[in-house]
């Protein structure tokens, strides 16, 4: 993935796909995503009718329940042109990689899904691709570490880029997380269906987080954020788990207050 592309190809307008979880559980992540994109000079459109990409049912095997929801998603976002940005590697993976399996045997829908997937980007991927990892220069005095969410890392292929983006936040002291690329145990419905196994995996993650000693864990998928935060709260830990969009938006706000932006 190129880190920088010519300014001329920088999109001026994008459509936000919030994802169902951000929309209803963590709207501040959605607002922060808008803030970050607007800071980059982009006009952000929001389709009021959006709900979900269909991943939860698909991952649980209920493809005939997922199919109409995914079809609805495609039909809705086909109404707009230009890039679609989603603050979730997992939802991006669903559309870009797993729709091919969901729509298997339906050639027309497979093509439509592929076309849509070609212009759908995860947030940090979008920033890196069109604006470069050094595009956002905010300020946030804190200590943090970064967890690599599985679908963003392995399905979308975004690895070190978010850390590079975060390295431009002034005052943010990053300490690499041991086994940052090992799963946190979330896995969607898996976390509810097999809570014992999900939590055993989480425990290893939380041990590494506590050993790391940072005040904050940054991750790029809200499901993983809640898995880790929910576990840390249960442990009585004060460590905060924060979505990367919120960190970037906060750092931008801090900079503008300080008159740097």
């Amino acid at each position: 993935m190129p880190e920088n592309t010519a300014n001329s190809s920088r999109p001026e307008r994008v459509t936000l796909f919030a994802s169902c979880m951000v929309d209803q559980l963590a709207p501040t992540v959605g607002e922060s995503t808008v803030d970050v994109l607007e800071h980059l000079g982009i006009t952000v459109d929001f389709l009021d009718d959006q709900t979900c990409c269909g991943q939860p049912a698909f991952n649980s095997g209920f493809r005939s329940e997922s199919l109409p929801v995914a079809t609805r998603f495609i039909e809705l976002f086909e109404q707009v042109t230009g890039p679609i940005v989603v603050p979730s590697g997992s939802c991006a993976a669903m559309v870009r990689n797993f729709y091919a399996d969901l729509f298997r045997g339906d050639e027309k829908m497979t093509i439509r899904a592929r076309r849509l997937g070609e212009r759908l980007y995860e947030l940090s991927e979008f920033i890196t691709r069109f604006f470069g990892t050094d595009a956002i220069k905010g300020t946030l005095a804190d200590t943090a570490t970064y967890h690599k969410c599985c679908h963003l890392l392995r399905e979308i292929g975004v690895d070190e880029e978010p850390m590079k983006i975060l390295s431009n936040v002034e005052g943010l002291q990053m300490t690499p997380l041991e086994r940052a690329d090992v799963c946190c145990g979330f896995g969607g419905a898996f976390s509810v269906k097999m809570p014992d196994i999900s939590s055993a995996i989480l425990d290893e993650k939380l041990d590494n987080i506590e050993t790391n000693g940072s005040n904050m864990v940054i991750a790029a998928d809200i499901g993983c954020v809640y898995q880790m935060q929910g576990g840390l709260r249960r442990r009585g830990s004060a460590v905060q788990v924060v979505h990367i969009a919120e960190v970037l938006a906060q750092s931008i706000r801090n900079s503008s207050v300080l008159g740097k932006s």
């Binding site: 929309d23 559980l25 009021d48 991952n59 609805r72 399996d101 890392l153 269906k193 999900s198």
Partner: protein
């Protein structure tokens, strides 16, 4: 081997509280996983090799009947016998009949997962024939009466103390625990006389080469080479997918297998066997038999969605990478093949209905796909099996989902098919959950969220959706 896949959850729960086993499973990550990464990093064209390995396997599996025919012809040309076994029982019977016909007293076994499918060692013992595992790990679990815990490290879950109790007749609790070298020497001493008196060997096959009729064995202990040279009868058992067309392909596959398995560039021994002793040769077995096992593999071959699993070269890299395997251990999977690869092949080979928890027990993190030297897309197949158990569209008998699950997902779909419903559903859930929340988090929630709150706090649904917030925001900017 009789599948015990329906015990998955119970077995997994036992392991997750067994500190000693969890500690041993750490080595799988710190040793094998990191070893593979390092070996891959030190190999210039690693990704090309993986692509090449995948292409070789794709091609071979697509033309399996041709290459099996060629292999059988060439083994016979080399003076060996070939037996195609439809299932484990047929394969077992062939070996037992052969052992009786040749008046065999002692069989030495080198490591073979296919022989585990056949439960061969125990079958020989039941017939009054001495049958001893000679791979150190296999020997340890034979002594403890267990099955392999890992594809390449069968006794990885055993502590040194447990091994000492099995190998050292003089060991009593409280004695200083012998180190690994001492333990190996004890095993060596016990096994040496068995090697000397063995009149038959059973080995596995890492790869069979169709164009030459040879079999390749990858070992680190030398027991494999002893097995293929000392006894007068050598029987090799293989799954029908373990085949490569040419010697050149073999060299590619060996390079990726060994690096992916142990992180070595090459194992201590790579043995190529071209059949029994020829008339002008002085050493080697008098007879060579190759048993090629189907045991459900044709089901995988015929199954377009699952066929890729036949590309597996049994390196164990997916186990080492898997966060689930490292917590639930190898025995939870209930049959011969543990870990991610087991979670996709076991359900097809032994029956999906009993094994439905195997594909369900995954966070779909994709570490297995990433680690696989031949790039088998394991998560894709886990999802395929979940689809079958959820809806039973492929085979009604395979549906294991509960009425409640089906209702939940139906309700979910209805809720997601319109924005108003989506909002109303979320608001109602919030109203319902809010009395249970404290500072925006729930310590205890009703089903289906109760699974989550058994170990983690759950976030309360937000007081307003993103849509309503963004709409307010745009009104503010407009005014």
């Amino acid at each position: 081997m009789k599948p015990l896949t329906s015990d998955f959850r119970a077995k997994a729960a036992e392991t997750m509280v067994d500190e000693q086993v969890l500690q041993s499973l750490e080595h799988v990550y710190t040793g094998f996983f990191k070893g593979r990464l390092e070996a891959a990093g030190n190999t210039d064209n690693w990704e090309d090799l993986r692509e090449k390995g995948k292409a070789i396997k794709d091609h071979t599996i697509a033309h399996l009947d041709y290459y099996l025919g060629q292999l059988a012809d060439n083994v016979e040309k080399n003076g060996g016998s070939v037996f195609f076994a439809a299932d484990a029982a047929e394969a077992r019977k062939y070996v037992l009949d052969l052992a009786h016909a040749r008046d065999i007293k002692t069989v030495i076994k080198s490591k073979s997962m296919v022989s585990e499918e056949m439960a061969l060692a125990q079958a020989l013992i039941d017939e009054g024939i001495e049958a001893v595992e000679t791979d150190l790990g296999e020997y340890i679990i034979q002594l403890s009466g267990e099955t392999p815990y890992h594809l390449i490290a069968p006794a990885v879950h055993k502590s040194r103390k447990e091994v000492a109790e099995l190998l050292d007749d003089s060991y009593v609790d409280g004695n200083p625990v012998p180190d690994a070298t001492e333990l190996t020497m004890m095993a060596r001493e016990k096994l040496r006389s068995v090697f000397e008196r063995a009149d038959m060997s059973v080995t596995g096959v890492n790869f069979a080469v169709a164009e030459s009729g040879s079999i390749a064995l990858v070992t680190n202990e030398g027991n494999g080479r002893m097995s293929t040279t000392v006894p007068r009868v050598h029987v090799a058992v293989m799954g029908m997918e373990k085949i490569v067309p040419s010697i050149q392909d073999l060299s590619t596959m060996l390079r990726i297998l060994i690096r992916s398995a142990t992180g070595q560039r090459i194992s201590s021994y790579v043995t190529l066997v071209n059949g029994a002793r020829k008339s002008d040769e002085e050493e080697g077995p008098e007879e060579f038999h190759l048993v090629i096992l189907d045991n459900g593999r044709q089901k995988l071959l015929a199954d377009e969605q699952m066929r890729e699993s036949l590309n597996c070269i049994r390196c164990g890299a997916c186990l080492n990478a898997c966060p689930v395997y490292r917590k639930v251990g190898g025995h939870a999977y209930g049959w011969v093949y543990p870990g991610p690869i087991g979670a996709i092949v076991t359900p097809v080979l032994t029956g999906l209905k009993d094994a439905s928890n195997l594909p369900a027990a995954s966070s779909l993190c994709g570490a297995c796909h990433d680690a696989c030297p031949v790039k088998i897309n394991i998560p894709r197949m886990l999802l395929e099996l979940r689809y079958r158990t959820a809806e039973g569209k492929t085979d009604k008998q395979e549906r294991t989902s509960s009425m409640r699950e089906r209702t939940v997902w139906k309700a979910w779909r209805i809720g997601m098919m319109g924005r108003k419903r989506f909002d109303v559903g979320s608001r109602l859930s919030r109203l319902f959950l809010r009395p249970l929340a404290e500072n925006g988090w729930l310590k205890k929630a009703p089903p289906p969220i109760s699974g989550w709150t058994s170990t983690r706090d759950f976030p309360l649904i937000s007081s307003s959706s993103l849509r309503s917030r963004l709409n307010k925001r745009s009104k503010k900017t407009k005014s």
